[in-house]
């Protein structure tokens, strides 16, 4: 592999699948369960944290059967809408990192204890970025789990408004009577339900985005451990 230049210039144009072809993905297989999950990986906040919410759901296949060997990861802003740049997701010492990992149980169920993400920009719809892995799934799938609570921002969200009602509904969490958020994932459509909308961020088939995202808040600078120090 060619060595990158020592002085890396800032990119003027965003790219995907740039000059170097990417390493292909492969299935997580059947035996990740003793390797990837770790203690309290699914607990982004401690019990009793103000604003704590349970995000949960069931992963199903194209026959409607639960998928007991899937791995779900979430990545989110904090309650104020800041992207957190803090380490500690594995240590779980009480630092909110915005990232969590859960394996599904025998009934295909998963859950996280977290807080609802805030809007990263004023008026933007709020969502958890979700990544799905499973035995039988050759490459990870990306999706979003939107909060159901602000119809105004959901109604102007670029992704949601690009989808028909039935497809769009697969991306919006349901507020359960106990206050929890339910997000079921269907890997494949079946007679009982619509397949979850899965995402590609690849630009190759789409016009490029005309505006750059705003920088995250200063406190949320990503980077090395202890960013901002």
């Amino acid at each position: 592999m060619s060595e990158p230049a020592l002085n890396e210039p800032a990119l003027n144009e965003p790219t995907l699948n740039g000059p170097l072809p990417p390493t292909p993905g492969q299935t997580v297989g059947p035996f990740f369960g003793y390797a990837l999950p770790y203690a309290r990986g699914n607990e982004l906040v401690e019990p009793g944290t103000p604003g704590a919410v349970r995000l949960h759901g069931t992963v199903r296949d194209g026959a409607g059967n639960p998928v007991p060997d899937a791995l779900i990861e979430i990545w989110q802003a904090d309650a104020a809408g800041d992207v957190v740049g803090r380490s500690g997701s594995i240590l779980r010492d009480g630092t909110f990192t915005g990232w969590g990992r859960a394996e599904t149980d025998r009934e295909g169920g998963y859950w996280f204890r977290t807080v609802a993400p805030g809007s990263t920009e004023p008026g933007r719809a709020r969502f958890f970025a979700v990544t799905v892995f499973a035995r039988g799934l050759q490459d990870r799938l990306f999706t979003r789990a939107y909060l159901p609570d602000d119809p105004g921002s959901l109604g102007t969200d670029p992704l949601l408004t690009s989808l028909g009602a039935e497809r769009r509904a697969t991306l919006v969490t349901a507020r359960e009577p106990d206050g929890s958020l339910r997000f079921d994932i269907r890997l494949q459509s079946d007679s009982k339900g619509e397949e979850t909308v899965f995402l590609t961020y690849d630009r190759s088939t789409q016009p490029t985005r005309s505006t750059q995202p705003t920088r995250p808040a200063r406190s949320a600078r990503p980077g090395r451990d202890g960013a901002g120090a």
Partner: protein, 263 residues
Amino acid sequence: MDAAPDLAAESQAQLSAEIEAGHRAYEEGLEQGLPEELGPRRDWPPYRSSLLRHPTKDLHHADPETIELFAPVFGERDVGALEADLTVQPGGEPIGERLVVRGRVVDGEGRPVRRQLVEVWQANAAGRYLHKRDQHPAPVDPHFTGVGRMLTDDDGWYQLRTIKPGPYPWKNHFNAWRPAHIHFSLFGREITQRIVTQMYFPGDPLFALDPIYQSIQDARARDRLVATYDHDLSEHEWATGYRWDIVLTGAHRTWTEPEDGDE
């Protein structure tokens, strides 16, 4: 567990014919101007477990939002220094061919992915995982868990020490064997770069027979999962060395290095 019992009687010859037919169709498509495929197919019937677990609709294009343009941060407090050495186990050493595996994690522009988490897991030298659902009647090695973690360094390098995993049987079809591999889980600087994959060893005779490896239609793309033997990484009277670099998908974010002297 990996296939219904009625599928378990299918022969390797039958599977191999399906794989070859799929690859032939891909080659013909290339000649007709269809794009090169860089990744595996999710809809790939020879991998029987994928039949009900692949989406049937095209992935929907999304412009990444702010949260998707960043990735979780991991630090020294998350990952112990010894976790990169799978040969250090309480009570004794694992049986097997000692290896050093080293490589660089870079993005599509060749820029190093610094101080980011790499996770690995693998079977022992006999092809057995330390997983309660692994039914392969090969010996468990009491001195090998096969699980490791590390952070890349400032230039994107990772390095692990382990033993060579054995091939193992699975239930996709009759007499199905996976080529020896190490599972890798990687993060980039944007969550859109997240990837889980498998590293293979050069010249494995099982490559042609394996529906998972062969789910990548393009021969050059498949080669990207195969490590190379690197004599410079081998250690005198201790271990042989393999080099395997990982290229994540390119970046969306206009990237100026935030770490150095930026604040």
